[in-house]
Every structure is written in C-alpha cells, then in structure tokens.
C-alpha cells in the first residue's frame, strides 16, 4: 500500500497579505483598530507637514524676481527662491572673479579624472595613482586657484603635476584597452619588452624626462591672473578647507596614534600632550587662537595668510581626534598579529605598514568617515571669524539690500547641499566596508 502521492499538487496562490498591495496594507497598517487609528493620525501629520512644506516651497514660491519686494508682491506666504538663484555664483564660488570661475571648475574636473582610475578595476598601479593625487594635485590646483607668478619650486611642481596627470591618464587608457600597466604597454610598443631590466628602466626614465621637459617649457609661458585668497569663498572655500583637512588629518592622526603608543618616552609624552590639549579645547577657540592671538606673537607687520592659519588649525584639531580613532583601531588588533609579524622578521614600520594598519584601518572606516563628515560640517565655524565659506555666504544674502531679511530659503538650500555631501560620503563608506570585508561578512 503506497502512501506516496503520485501526481503533483497544483500550485497554490501566495497568501493575499504577501502578494497584493491591499494585503500588505492590511497586514502592516490596518491589522487592528488601534493600528488603524495610528495610521490615520500619522497620515494626517504627514499631510500637514509635507503638504505645508510643498505649498510654501513650490506652489506658492517665487523663482524669478529682482528683489524681495517682488517676491512679496507675487505671494506673501511662499518661499522666495529668486534670491538664492541670484546669489548662486556667490554661494558656489564666493567672490572669485566671475571671468575666472572656469579655473575652479577645471580644478574639480581634473581631480575627478585623476581619481577615476581608483574605481576602475582593470587599471593597474592604483597605489601610485593615490600617491600622485596627494603629492602632485595640490600644487596644480593651488596654482590654478591662486594664479600669479610662479617661483622656481612652483614651476617644477606644476610641471611634475602635469606629467603625473598625463602619465596617470595614459595608464588608465592602457589599462582599459589592453589590461596592462602603462610601463609594460609602452615597452611593448617600443619593442623593448624583451630587453634587460636595466635597459627597460632607462627607457622609461628617458620617456618621463622628455615629458617633464615638454611640460616645463609649456608651463613657462602659462600664466594666469592672480586671485587673492580673500576672494575665495562659498562652497569652493568649504571644500578647500575640508579637503585639505581630510587629506592631512588622516596621516597626521596615524602618526600621532603611533607616537602615543610608542615605546620612546619623549615621543609618547609629546604625542599624548598634543592630543589631549587639542581635544580638550573647542574648535572655535582653536580658530580664534590661530587667527587673532598667533599674529600677536609674530613681529609687527608680519601677516600670515588667514586662510593658511585656519587650515592649519583645522588640520591639527582633526588630526588629534583622528589619532584617538586610529588608536582604538590599533588596540583591537590582537597581540599575536604583532608577534607573528616579528617572527617573520619584520621591523617596526614593516609590522605597522604591512600587517597592523591594513587590518586596523578596515575596522575604523565607519569612525574615520564619521570624523570626516564632522570635519566637513565643522568648517562652517570659519564664517564666525570672517571667512565667507558656504554658511557665511548664505547668511550674507539676508544683508544684501535687494534681498534683505531673506534667511530661511538660503539656509534650507545650504541644508540640502550639506545633506547631499554628507550622505554621499557615508554611502561611499558603507560601500567600502562591504568591498573590503567581502571575505567575512558579519
């Protein structure tokens, strides 16, 4: 006697609650009397807030007007975006001469192109790409943004940056089309791929020297109008300060953290003292100290660029916070890792650079990015000491006579900008975490 069913049971339809919108609604929003009530209350609140915001910000809003009075004439209860639109150049570029704005845009495009290979898996030599961005890009961008006469050092650095950029782009193309590094590719084209290592190296050096010579002669005739830093402002200034802050505070923080864990007493005491002093003072105090007190200690007539003072203050302040983040990461690495590294004969820097840091940094990504986001937002404090960063510019709109008193709309616009920047940073950090811990998901 067989109890095995011979024919196939017909497929059953999925339960209503899983398959249809109505079912989902019923299960999640209207499952009981109290839930139904709650749903309606929440719907009403959403209607009130979103509806009100939409009416104020879009339906009743004025987008084209020459002054605030015209906005009022159009609607007394709507937003006046016209003021923000009139001020867009100020908001993004500050007081930068309007005919020179292309330089800022070009600087941004160059950075994006320079970094692009880091995200393309076919490109070889990513480490060198990253190093070249940090070492050379600042000089090229610095000259693009400030212009004027170049000293010899600046000429050399600008020419090197141009070469580095060109090499980087060629390397990206070589990687994309032939999956090779640029060096291998160039040697093959020149028919030297079978030559000895020494010849190969010489060929490459000659190529680079030729490129450098060409770049150097070209940049000698390349001068652009000088733009003094007081004209920098808006989102551009915010990005300059926070960009340099981010780029320098991480290495600075790593060094300080290593110093604090060092076995050498002087290094340890100095690092600890430095970290604790900066961490126990608010950023605004450090900024005031840097901009008003520091010049008093200098000989009279000696005026250090205020922007440089601010950037130094921001870097030092954030490096100290970063140091503690890094130290936390270092402490999470078990002792056996150090011992293992010593066993295979690595010295201090080898242990740190090859074994400890790669593991520790991976764990610290959420905290590091958190600090970066904090840094980006903290830079708005510089508006208090008279720099016209993004926030400073947004607040100035309400003081411009045609737009007097217009302060809500600019601040909302600024909030949106900051949201975009910060959330894309945190989104990217989550992507990095997933990518780096692909081996062991938790």
């Amino acid at each position: 006697m067989a109890i095995v069913k011979a024919e196939r049971t017909p497929d059953r339809r999925p339960p209503v609650s899983e398959a249809t919108v109505l079912g989902w609604l019923r299960k999640n929003l209207f499952s009981s009397v109290s839930n139904t009530l709650l749903t309606f209350v929440m719907l009403y609140i959403i209607y009130l807030t979103v509806g009100g915001a939409f009416k104020w910000g879009v339906l009743d809003a004025t987008f084209i007007a020459d002054n605030r009075r015209e906005c009022y004439d159009n609607s007394l209860t709507g937003a006046c975006w016209a003021g923000v639109i009139h001020w867009l150049n100020n908001i993004f570029y500050g007081r930068y001469p309007r005919t020179e704005i292309w330089r800022i845009n070009l600087g941004g495009v160059l950075l994006a192109l320079w970094m692009a290979p880091l995200w393309i898996s076919r490109v070889k030599g990513k480490f060198l790409v990253g190093v070249s961005v940090v070492v050379f890009y600042p000089f090229l961008a610095g000259y693009l943004f400030s212009g004027g006469e170049k000293g010899l050092f600046m000429q050399i650095m600008v020419a090197s940056a141009l070469v580095a950029f060109a090499v980087n782009m060629a390397n990206m193309l070589a990687g994309l089309f032939s999956r090779q590094g640029l060096g291998t590719f160039a040697l093959r084209v020149l028919g030297q791929d079978k030559a000895t290592g020494k010849t190969q190296r010489n060929v490459l050096l000659v190529l680079i020297a030729i490129a450098f010579g060409a770049a150097f002669f070209w940049q000698m005739s390349w001068t652009i109008q000088s733009v003094v830093w007081t004209k920098w402002g808006g989102l551009f200034l915010t990005l300059v300060i926070s960009g340099i802050g981010i780029a320098l505070s991480l290495p600075g923080g790593i060094l300080l953290a290593l110093g604090r864990r060092s076995k050498l007493p002087i290094v340890r005491v100095l690092s600890t003292g430095f970290i604790e002093i900066f961490r126990s003072v608010p950023l605004i105090t450090v900024l005031f100290m840097a901009t008003t007190m520091f010049p008093l200690f200098m000989p009279e007539g000696f005026v250090l660029n205020k922007l440089v003072q601010v950037i130094i203050a921001v870097v030092l302040f954030n490096a100290c916070y970063m140091a503690e983040t890094v130290r936390a990461g270092l402490q999470a690495i078990p002792k056996e890792q150090f011992e293992g590294a010593h066993t295979i004969g690595l010295g201090y820097w080898g242990t740190m650079g090859l074994i400890i840091m790669p593991q520790a940094l991976k764990h610290m990504i959420p905290n590091i990015v958190g600090s970066f986001i904090g840094l980006l937002k903290d830079t708005t404090l510089v508006s208090i000491i008279g720099l016209f960063d993004l926030l400073g510019m947004l607040r100035s709109i309400s003081k411009d006579v045609p737009w007097m008193g217009l302060h809500k709309e600019p601040l909302i616009f600024g909030a949106i900008l900051f949201f975009i920047m910060c959330s894309s940073m945190s989104k990217y950090s989550r992507h990095l975490e997933v990518k780096l811990s692909a081996g062991r998901k938790r």
Binding site: H86, G94, F288, P295, E300, G386, F388, S396, P402, M404
Partner: protein, 346 residues
C-alpha cells in the same frame, strides 16, 4: 668670556633691530600702505547700508565708501583696496596687530574704546541711535507707553544694556527677549512673540522695509541712546590719523561747497571760489602736511562722490539703499540743521 660678549652683542643688536623695526612700522602706516600697494580696510560681517556684498561678490555701502575714499586719496585709485571682514570679537585686535590699516565699520565712538583700546576714532560719519518698532494697531505712539512690554533684542551688544537702562530710568519694567540672530528676532516679533523690537534706528528702518507689509508697523519717535559711528585707526600715528580724518572731512566739505562726482572736473578747471580751488589742489598746499599728492581731495570726490551722494546711494533712496530719510536728521549738513560739519580746508 669672548663668546659671551659676542652673544650679548648679538642679542642687543637683535633687540635694537626688533624695536626699531616696530617703531618704524608703527610710525609710518602711510609708507607701509604705499609699499604694499593697497589699503587694508576692516569692516564687519555684512550689515545693510554700511557694508554688504551684492550678488556679484562686490562690497558696497557707506562704510565701504569711506575705505574707497582713503584708497583714492593715497593712490588716486579706489580699487587699490582690500576689504577685510572681521568678526566683532576680533575687530580691535586685528587693528592693533597690524592686520588692518583702518577700521570702517559701525563702531560706536565711546570713551572707553577711545582711551583704553589703543585706537583713535577720527570723526563720526553717521549718527545713529537706538529706537523701537511696534505694530501700528497696538496703539502705542511713544516708547514711554511700553510699560511691562516684552521687547525683542539681540544679545551681547550695548543695545541690550541701553534697553535695561531705559527701562530702569523710566520705571517701565520691560522684559527683554534676547536673540543671537537678528533675522530670528524679527521673525519672532512678526509672529507676535513680543510687543516691540529694539535696535539702532538705521537697522530698524532697513529691516522694516524688508517685512511683508511695512505699513503695519511704525518706528517710535524716541531715541534712547547716542551712537556716533566713526572710522578708527591705531593710536600713535598722527599723520595716518589725519589722512583718514581729512578724507572724511573732504566728503562733507565737498557737499557743502556743491562739488559732486559729476561736476568735480568742471569745478577744478573753472571754479573761481578760493575754497574750492584750495580743496581741489588748484592753489595752496593743503596736501603737504598729509604727505599725499596735490589732487588727493579731487581723487576722493572723483572716485566716490561727496557725502550727500554716498548717503543717498546706500542709506537714502537708491535701489541699494535702506531708505532712511536724511532731511531733518542728525546726518544732514550743519547748514540744514544736522551735525555734519567739516572744519575749513585752509
């Protein structure tokens, strides 16, 4: 012994060098500015009518014109100028440490500031005073009727102290509602959070014109404080102080003599009035004591116009102005019953 003597000598030399350098730069702001090629003039964070940014990123306003006047007097070119925006907390330090050459921001000339902060005020270029704005339908027509009222005020300035003094002297029992930001203060007032709002009258007028329905509000007639706003320079350099002071006087005197930006060329060429001829450098040697070129006053008027023109442009009635009538106010010329008075140019 020998080494020690050498070291002492070097140290002494260094001290001498340092002090003489300090003295030299402290005494000769004019030379420093000329060598640098531009004037560093300090304003504050934007304040309507006096110094603010337009949508193209240029500074404009009454105090900015003062900076431009001094730049024009020195260089004959009002664009040889760097406007520095410095926070209220750091304003006097920045002047003292040499970061700014002069200060042209709505700073009230008071005894303490003049005598204790190492700076000298030159001469007022705007007479302000604190007042009140109320809703028209409240029926209040005098500040003395504000008994027990809630008054919105920005914190951390003399405004708050003046209000307390006024309340105490007149036994009004006013309660102050304080704010950091004037936009928030005004918003609170507009939404009924207080009965009146108080600040300098110039700002009251400017803010009022930006409200949805300005006709619903009035500024009360009382002025409860004296606020003579004046440019200031570092103490101890009399020539520099004279340059800034007489640049302001040149603006006022030009108005009195009827010299305007438009007719200054004609006046210089054709006027027979000895007062005009002296001031514009056609005859006499008024420039010598200042260390400037003969046409310094001409350059000022050519660059920014006379005081009346500047006032109309930024305070009075232009598209960039905050609409405070000048007629009958303290800021009218002395010939019209105001306080704007320049000593004679002779």
């Amino acid at each position: 012994m020998k080494l020690k003597a050498k070291l002492t000598a070097v140290a002494a030399l260094a001290v001498v060098a340092a002090t003489s350098a300090t003295v030299a730069s402290a005494e000769n702001t004019l030379d420093v500015v000329k060598a640098r090629g531009f004037l560093r003039c300090q304003v504050g964070s934007p304040s309507p009518g006096f110094y603010n940014l337009d949508a193209d990123g240029n500074w404009y306003g009454l105090d900015v014109s003062m900076c431009q006047a001094v730049a024009a007097a020195i260089f004959g070119d009002k664009t040889k100028l760097q406007i520095q925006s410095v926070s209220t907390q750091a304003r006097f330090t920045a002047l003292a440490n040499g970061e700014s050459d002069m200060l042209s921001r709505t700073a009230t000339w008071t005894e303490t500031r003049d005598t204790q902060l190492g700076l000298d005020f030159v001469t007022p270029n705007f007479y302000d005073g604190q007042g009140f704005t109320v809703r028209k339908d409240s029926g209040i027509t005098s500040a003395l009727q504000l008994k027990g009222a809630k008054v919105c005020v920005t914190t951390g300035t003399t405004t708050e102290l003046n209000l307390a003094d006024f309340s105490r002297v007149n036994n009004l029992n006013i309660s102050a509602v304080t704010f950091e930001d004037y936009n928030v203060r005004d918003n609170t007032f507009l939404n009924g959070g207080c009965d009146a709002v108080t600040t300098d009258k110039s700002a009251l007028a400017g803010n009022l014109s930006s409200w949805p329905v300005p006709e619903d509000y009035i500024i009360l007639p009382e002025t409860i404080s004296k606020e003579p706003l004046a440019p200031a320079v570092r103490q101890g350099d009399n020539q520099w102080e004279d340059i800034v002071r007489w640049s302001v006087f040149a603006l006022i005197n030009a108005e009195e003599l009827g010299i305007t930006q438009a007719n200054v060329d004609d006046m210089r060429a054709n006027s027979q009035d000895p007062r005009v001829r002296r001031m514009l450098g056609v005859e006499g040697n008024l420039n010598e004591g200042l260390g400037l070129s003969k046409d310094w006053a001409y350059n000022i008027i050519k660059a920014v116009g006379n005081y009346g023109e500047i006032y109309e442009r930024y305070i009075g009635d232009g598209p960039q102005a905050i609409h405070i009538p000048r007629k009958g106010s303290l800021n009218a010329l002395w010939t019209d019953g105001g306080l704007m008075y320049s000593p004679p140019f002779r």
